[in-house]
Subunit: 389 residues, 3 copies
């Protein structure tokens, strides 16, 4: 088995974005959202898998810690039966190997006092954690030196003080890249043409877009922020409201924009795997979402909806609005077919040959731009060997 799970013969044939095709387990040394803050109580534990790596979390004095969920001794997962006998430490259920949450250091083996295996050097890997907007972010990489700022791995605006963010997480049975390519895909709106959200929120949704001579995307970055590809719904994007087959019109969707909510203005894709649809589904809200690598065939779909609020009352009102309206119409009903499409694409790319055979077209240029960008600017391809070091 190749160290990236991709047949080298296929990688040889990929032009321009080989690291992306290699990154079946995602990119390393980036921040990823992995849990909702509310799902990890003080003193409790939670478990998750990120880029193939099993993780266990706790919260101590409000601060979240993360260790590799695998005892040095017998390789068993702590999370099978998490034991925390002293604040600040995690004990393996099998022989009592005990580690410090803070630095992963092996401090004791309960079943063997004074064992020499506790030498002050051994420990399990720790992963830096940061909370923001109700989500727990993990840095999948080496704890060592220069930790990049969380702001470099989330879409612009996401961390804005006045943006209140609601979120929903679920596991999807496709590789993370089919999430990225479905989300940033401008013409996949074809599958949303009958969505109830359109009428419900007074939207105008074309069937797709006619190719335009001028490029509609650009690369954006700022010194302290993320790098991404921004697709601009400006004059270079020509909406198509009629579907034609061999010259005959076969489908039509309403194109009248009078009194309609004209959203979004931009769709953008940010390293490592976050999409921003701004604004959406309402002129006052932004949908940002992540397609977080879990393992080769699974990703965590992290949907967030943000709205600027002035105070607690505004926060509470948006929470109600989210639960009464957007969670159902946007996250479930509108994005449901996206989940289904990613699972279908997983089947299409199952043998990896389709990375070579795929027949992309003009509308996929922003996706290609992102493939190139992430291939160049990622901080490392996650490899099977990373899971063992």
């Amino acid at each position: 088995m190749n160290d990236t799970l991709v047949d080298p013969a296929i990688l040889e044939k990929v032009r321009g974005w080989r690291p992306y095709v290699e990154a079946k387990l995602g990119f390393r040394n980036h921040w990823y959202p992995i849990l909702q803050s509310t799902n990890l109580a003080e003193g409790g534990t939670a478990t998750a898998t990120l880029c193939g790596e099993p993780l266990i979390f706790t919260r101590l004095d409000g601060v979240v810690y993360c260790l590799r969920d695998r005892c040095l001794h017998r390789g068993v997962r702590f999370s099978k039966k998490p034991e925390c006998h002293a604040k600040g430490s995690l004990t393996c259920w099998y022989h009592g190997y005990t580690y410090r949450w803070r630095d992963g250091r092996l401090t004791d083996v309960i079943a063997a006092p004074n064992t020499k295996i506790v030498d002050g050097r051994r420990g399990v890997r720790t992963f830096p954690v940061q909370e923001a907007k109700g989500l727990v972010f993990v840095f999948m990489g080496d704890a060592a030196q220069a930790l990049p700022a969380l702001a470099t791995d989330v879409p612009p605006k996401f961390l804005d003080e006045d943006l209140h963010v609601m979120s929903k997480l679920r596991i999807v049975r496709s590789n993370w890249r089919h999430g990225v390519e479905n989300g940033f895909d401008t013409t996949h709106i074809y599958i949303h043409r009958e969505s109830r959200l359109i009428q419900e929120n007074n939207l105008v949704l074309p069937l797709g877009f006619a190719p335009s001579a001028a490029k509609s995307w650009h690369i954006e970055e700022s010194p302290a922020g993320p790098v991404g590809v921004v697709e601009d719904y400006g004059p270079n994007v020509v909406p198509a409201f009629e579907g034609r087959i061999e010259g005959r019109t076969v489908l039509k969707v309403p194109s009248d924009i009078e009194g309609k909510n004209l959203v979004p203005h931009t769709i953008s894709m940010w390293l490592p795997c976050a999409l921003a649809v701004d604004p959406w589904p309402d002129p006052a809200t932004i949908q940002m979402e992540w397609y977080v690598p879990v393992d080769a065939t699974t990703h965590l779909y992290v949907q967030t909806l943000g709205k600027r609020v002035a105070d607690d009352a505004g926060r509470r009102e948006f929470q109600r609005e989210y639960h009464n309206r957007w969670e159902h119409y946007a996250f479930d009903e509108f994005n449901g077919p996206d989940i289904w499409a990613r699972e279908a694409a997983e089947e299409g790319y199952a043998s990896d040959h389709h990375w070579v055979d795929e027949a992309l077209f003009e509308a996929d240029e922003n996706i290609i731009a992102f493939r190139r960008l992430v291939s160049e600017r990622n901080r490392g391809v996650q490899r099977l060997s990373d899971l063992r070091e």
Copy 2:
């Protein structure tokens, strides 16, 4: 993974019928029955897998068309949500890539009018289709030039004008070759010795056959017809009605032929994978059946029963006879243990080593003759790479 899914080290050890052992996915450039005509209505769609190839079918003005069930763009299956917005075309549910059923040509992308991806050259693979005797046959091969006549890939008599054919299709969990070798196997009747069909239709069924000095099979072919091996239940076949173990008789089945239906006269196996038992189970009926390759571990078992009829009344009477009698006693009850035996053989040959280790005996000579014949006369081994071109 080898291109034929068979370990080359095993192929090296096979003498005389290597292409047959290689053909785990079946043989290419042959006609195969795949659907019942009644299961594909005008304007509807159906899906199936043949020799590893996903297929989608429709019927337009009565004519059946078949495309590879896989969009050029993202590799998704059309059949996940078939869309036909204009007569004669199939549209992918994801971005509206639209293909002509007739020639597979990509004619439009609904979500992107005027895209250059529609260049008049791109298309999905089409497969020739022909209907006969209530079955839809597909030619698993290249649409190109010289299409062989259907008559070269079905048993003789099958297409005879006055033969009315009833059929039943089901999926069996074994490679197609275990169907072939079970069906053409003269001594496997041992497993049928307690079948209720014997008494029900007044048959005489020995436990097996004693080896005879003279060969009982011959190869048959005609210019316009198929090529096959015919086993002749003539003087060279010595029925055994008593089973002996170390000299003692341990089993006996009735051998009295007085007033009994003495069937069949011949059993024959035709390229690519069709058996004819003639006559059977009645002196007035012929059972022909196919073991159609689906994928490496699955075949489609196509059972047919034919009877010569003079007119519509005869046809209706045979239909009643089939449903009241033969479907249950012959197709289900008698052939049930065959399905079970093929699944057991699938396990026996699972590692492919048994193709080298098997201890065949005299009664398997007709099977060996077929292995040699099909190895020589097939029109191509189906390979994994064929599924991608």
Copy 3:
């Protein structure tokens, strides 16, 4: 696929016990318990898999016979529908290939009297069988010459005349070695600290053991007996009743030995895979158990409990005692977490990398001693090719 299912690159990195790491399918040419005698009635059949080898058993005039459960002809398993038409023979359900239980010789093919395939030489492999203490033992190896005595592959005392043995068998979803290493592991008692057996039988169970300067195990063997590693609960073993984390006591279990049953005195591990805990769980009983290789990821957990009895009345009393008390408290409740731990270790060692990465400590020295011993003294590593010869 490597012939032992283990990546050679991993084997290269193993020091001192490479054959043990190679023996994913167990060791060959040893005796293994596989069935309870009561589960094989006169004239009946039973089936099991041992070291990857499918087996079928019968009992004739009280004697148990064992054949490879795979017909020479089509590779199907006899046990799918065992047929015994004559005492002393097993007939394949497919074509009537008939074998002698005694020597595996092919004597007849019922469906083909006088076939030349019956040449007096062909046969299926037989495996020597011996019954002892209510268990059927099979010798997984070549029937040929020098069969080692059963006594060389069971713990000392097991065959003692006056020892009455009760047993329980079940399938566990881990490789057999995780059974061995869990059973012989002195500090895994940490997982048993809350077992109800402790109070129920008035035991003293420490949390583990502090490392001691002196070695507490030795290798034992006798000319006619087995070879094994014996861990002696003498002065070199220092029990730990308090668990500490970074200097603070976090766990305490009762250490008062007044009036308690102080068991066991020794724990020992014998080739090929049998543990003896003596005495346990009662001063008057010995628990011996086997972790029998089934396939790469499964073992048969054979638990036995022995007690010395003087007569039939003593035997009956112990049977009642076992069913009323030990079966539940010892085999099910106490050993339950062991089964669970082996399954967790199976996950930890799934990729085989953990054989290289594992962080063993002082308390694992007896396990390492056994790894070395069995690597040196085993009678052969079971290989995939052994399953085909």
